[in-house]
Symmetry: C2
Amino acid sequence: MKKSDKENTEEKIFNAAKKVFVRKGSDGARMQEIADEAGINKSLLHYYYRSKDKLFAAVFEFFASKFFPDIFNIFNSDDDIFIKFEKFIHAYIDMLSKNPFIPMFMLNEIKKGNASFAIKVISRAGVNIKAFEQLVEKEIKKGNIKNVNPKNLIINMLGLIIFPFISRPLFEVLIFDNNKNAVDEFLAQRKEEVSTLIINMLKPEKTLN
Amino acid sequence: MKKSDKENTEEKIFNAAKKVFVRKGSDGARMQEIADEAGINKSLLHYYYRSKDKLFAAVFEFFASKFFPDIFNIFNSDDDIFIKFEKFIHAYIDMLSKNPFIPMFMLNEIKKGNASFAIKVISRAGVNIKAFEQLVEKEIKKGNIKNVNPKNLIINMLGLIIFPFISRPLFEVLIFDNNKNAVDEFLAQRKEEVSTLIINMLKPEKTLN
DNA sequence: GTCTATAAATTGATAGAC
DNA sequence: GTCTATCAATTTATAGAC
């Protein structure tokens, strides 16, 4: 009884903290606001997490594990290279659709000085960029894809995937006249759009000349 | 004498404020840190700008005018459509190279609730997305470019341009092993990369089948 | 475990001397 | 215009009752 209650409160706090830290950032977030969001007393935050820093660290780690997901292991499968990219793009956009504010949160906090912390989480998650670059180079040699720069490819792909989520608050009003449904449709349709673009970047020329 | 001193101090404060607000955001920035950065006394900040909010507003407006620049008027010229895109991409990446932290700053502050403020600055700057969409549709009808979705085109282009700057703190260590020179070279080379990609998105198929 | 009350620290802002 | 000293408000954190 007591046990489950404890778990429950800790969970409430954690979920509330996720919301508030994402909304306001580590500096803008207030312990009182987190307590209100959780519907509990402020001092319980300290009872369970000791300090704001510790609570933030827990939230940061949670989001980091989502932002650098197992999804990267898609590239370790033995699918066709084009299928790998398509699967990755779809899976990542699906994740972001459920957690649209993660990229802004992560990149902003990393910029403010949590880069080294982030790197730990990344390596723990098994994200291996070098392996990705080698895979691309291998496929180029085999003639399966065009001779692209792997670093450009990564940045292009992640930019096409992530940027719409980061810039949503802006283009929602600037391009979509505040029509949130239209934006949701737009973002869902990005899965196909980005897949097509990346495939076109990779597909060898139909050597016709 | 007094006049030029005054201008000078105000300028010092403003420049210091730009640095600190970009580094820490509106919440994380401290008036003391701005004063230290400017090498002047803290109370002078209030003498010249009354409050932290007012100082922030000035900085925000300054960056907004850079983030939504005259550059968009490139699309009003009578250049060939491909030249327009190339000029825009080059000009915008050049600007970002000189002010690499503007996108993160702007998008983050807009997310935290300054969207309406941003919109005012945008319309004052004459940025007109609707006109851009119409231009694209016109060129499609003329058969000069492929039948692309204008909204996707904008987001693709801005993502490819802006995302590398937003994510630099991350990929600098993750992809470039902290080699800052390599990153600078990479970003400079993006002008050609993005131009090529956008042109490929727009160039009509060599209808061979 | 949860609450109230309060301490302790931080920080934006002002008063007033020069 | 610029400085020192200080206030007032906010906010994190703790003590202690239940």
